[in-house]
Symmetry: C2
Amino acid sequence: MESLFERTLAAIKPSDKEVEKAAWKRLDNLTKPRGSLGRLEELAAQYAAARGSLKAAVEKPCVLVFGADHGVAVQNVSAFPQAVTVQMAANIAAGGAGVSVLARHAGASLRMVDVGIATDAPMPGVVNRKVAKGSADFTLGPAMTQEQCRQALEAGIEEAQDAIAAGSTLLGTGDLGIANTTPSAALYSAYLGIDPEEIVGRGTGIDDARMKSKVEAVRCALAVNAGALNDPFDTLAALGAAAKRVPIVIDGFISGAAAVAALKLKPEAMDYCFFSHASAEGGHKKAMNAIGACPLLGLGLRLGEGTGAALAFNLVQAGNKILLEMASFDEAGVSGSEV
Amino acid sequence: MESLFERTLAAIKPSDKEVEKAAWKRLDNLTKPRGSLGRLEELAAQYAAARGSLKAAVEKPCVLVFGADHGVAVQNVSAFPQAVTVQMAANIAAGGAGVSVLARHAGASLRMVDVGIATDAPMPGVVNRKVAKGSADFTLGPAMTQEQCRQALEAGIEEAQDAIAAGSTLLGTGDLGIANTTPSAALYSAYLGIDPEEIVGRGTGIDDARMKSKVEAVRCALAVNAGALNDPFDTLAALGAAAKRVPIVIDGFISGAAAVAALKLKPEAMDYCFFSHASAEGGHKKAMNAIGACPLLGLGLRLGEGTGAALAFNLVQAGNKILLEMASFDEAGVSGSEV
């Protein structure tokens, strides 16, 4: 029998190009100079094509935040102690974190999912899908076993499916985990051939000494795990959403690395991805450029958690409403262009 | 007796730098790496300083769209006939235009104000503050008399005051009027010393021949009106808001030209201005750079009407909520940075 992972990959098809064409036709007839709403119009057309309908509205947007600890945290790569992962999962669930505020502001629901936080303690409000109490240190060998990796990926697919079953037609990805920019940098390096020096950034704000350790850790991990897939915890949330034709808004550096992994597995998933913001972290802009993505916002964010995704929901919804709610020249009795 | 205009200028004071300092102190203690919410944090601090309180929330945002016809429309500078101004004012008031949709999406109210539309017909839902049935052609002489100019400016102040009296603590500017990018380009040229060739853009989408006429019209107007202030219809909405310590979100090319005029009159008004987006129109980016403004969004918008302002409300509100709603490290029991 095929696994959930294989079935999901097989279910992903390109978005509906006929609907996209029809969306552009409608957009070109709305009461505005052609193309004058810029990228909002692109968002509207991409959303309609993904959903396969000109009439599809964005319903119940939901941010999925996947939390896990990374064994590489022992390698002096972060400014914060590992205990912060548990503490921040509780803060996110309780409503006090950046993503909690921005999801609420966007009118979006938020699910904080534990895929591998290094604790036994119960965390109220956090969904338990724990695969392990933290991954292994990937500078010494694989971060996890193949079976653990499959479990983590399927957790992502299932979370996306659950949110869609609850009525969401727009998902957002987020991440939590001390040291998580380190494996993300390694993923970008491995998949896009970007040198660690160019992709590694200062994460939560590390000094020069830790920066050197971090680049070293990435180089080491790439050598030790040559060719293997590392830590793509939320990769498959994007694939799970694409399989159901529900677009997903990718957050920043970490979710972006997972998206790069997802796109390597299934390039068609690109039709379902919106890239929310150009992160201030490391070589994110270079990586986005390499996959042909042009992030929507450029506000210097580098918090992660899904904060950029939550913020960009507003733009996707705005584009969607332009298509659904604006009057055409005919409908409003407005004269068209003379030229 | 001093005029409303003079009283308003005198009432504008710099924003509260002590509150700004306190806002940064709070922002630095919230549960995130310092500065990691980028420009959202700057928005939060600027808003608090403008309002003079750490606890000030954004209430009842309102977009003010000022419509007027420009005599220069006869000079072959636009792709649309002048009748479109009247038609679009009705469309905006009826809810079918771009700014109608985006203001609704932002949860903002919208006032469509007629300051000088070239018609006698009543326009349901449009506020009547008509100074003239269109301005004169400024390539032949002044666009309006000094008295008309004062009336138009005071209409802007009074509209801002009315919105504030109704409870708005964040205003947005917008514009409507066939040919209005032409006088706006002239304002940028006159105030910032940018050559017409570099600032004039294609507006609603004009061809090369009309582009040449448009540059010529601007050159001609600058020569004919050397040193005079032209057409700043919505300038004083910004000043009216600043006088009441209510921040205002400036739309794009046209509102930006009015803001440049306002800043020349009262540089302190800058503390109360948020610049919503880098317009795709002409030399807007260059002009924003010249006044030290860094627009929030870069989405290729060039519709005007206040669409960019309405879209950027969401970001100002997001920054504001970060300050008001996020937990500090102490409050959430989260460990701080080790370095």
